[in-house]
Symmetry: C2
Subunit: 117 residues, 2 copies
DNA sequence: CTGCTCGTACGATAGCCATCGTAGTACGGC
DNA sequence: GCCGTACTACGATGGCTATCGTACGAGCAG
């Protein structure tokens, strides 16, 4: 084998051409998911584990939200041992919708500053 | 009175500060509503009537979608006789989320070109 | 005033979705 | 091999939402 399988389990991601704007906007229209995306954008090139996020929901619900983001093509997920690394698909999103992600992130930051103090 | 009531019926709109990013993104995550917004952006400074749009749904459903857009703060609606004029709230959106609307519209146009031929 | 057109309101329905709890699987350390 | 940790799968549930049909209200043309 070429790489002897990185870490066995692989998750299904949509190809770049399959990413739909409606799906991305819908994925980002949930406050919890927007929070995840903002943290990923701020923090991590390499990716953050699911458990890094301190979300006010159960793990089941977390899994659900991460799955929505992945299936919409917003994030990429890879197993790393027992953990799972999440990273923004910035390249794909920028290629498909130039400037969109940055505008949305800026808008979210602006609103957070305006409302959250 | 100052203006003697423009045309009687007035619709409730959220104030600029009440517009929430999640709401805007959710409103735009429906293909039908995105289509409406795109036509409004392309065509009309003054506004377009509801009946101008040739949507593949009943009038009830149209009313519903226009209402969602209005309550999210994306469009402004004003009665003009029996018709109702719809216009984008570009000023408010640009003030709150600079560049967001243009990015989204560009993304939608790009996807339409990519998929619709 | 009588109709006509444009849009609304209301009720019904079916589908999606955010949330939870419980039970289970994969991986790494001992 | 066994256990703990990290995440998943599945089923249930309550709420939202897109859709429709029918009945209604508001303005305009006669």
């Amino acid at each position: 084998m070429t790489t002897a399988v990185p870490s066995a389990r692989v998750l299904a991601h949509p190809a770049r051409e399959e990413i739909r704007l409606e799906g991305v906007l819908h994925a980002l229209s949930d406050p919890l998911r927007m929070l995840i995306v903002r943290e990923l954008a701020a923090g991590a090139e390499a990716g953050l584990t699911c458990s890094h996020f301190d979300l006010p929901v159960t793990k089941s619900t977390s899994t659900h939200h991460f799955r929505v983001l992945r299936e919409a093509g917003v994030i990429q997920q890879n197993y790393r041992g027992t953990a799972k690394l999440n990273a923004l698909r910035r390249d794909d999103l920028d290629a498909l919708f130039p400037g969109l992600l940055d505008s949305v992130l800026a808008a979210a930051a602006r609103q957070a500053e305006r409302l959250g103090g």
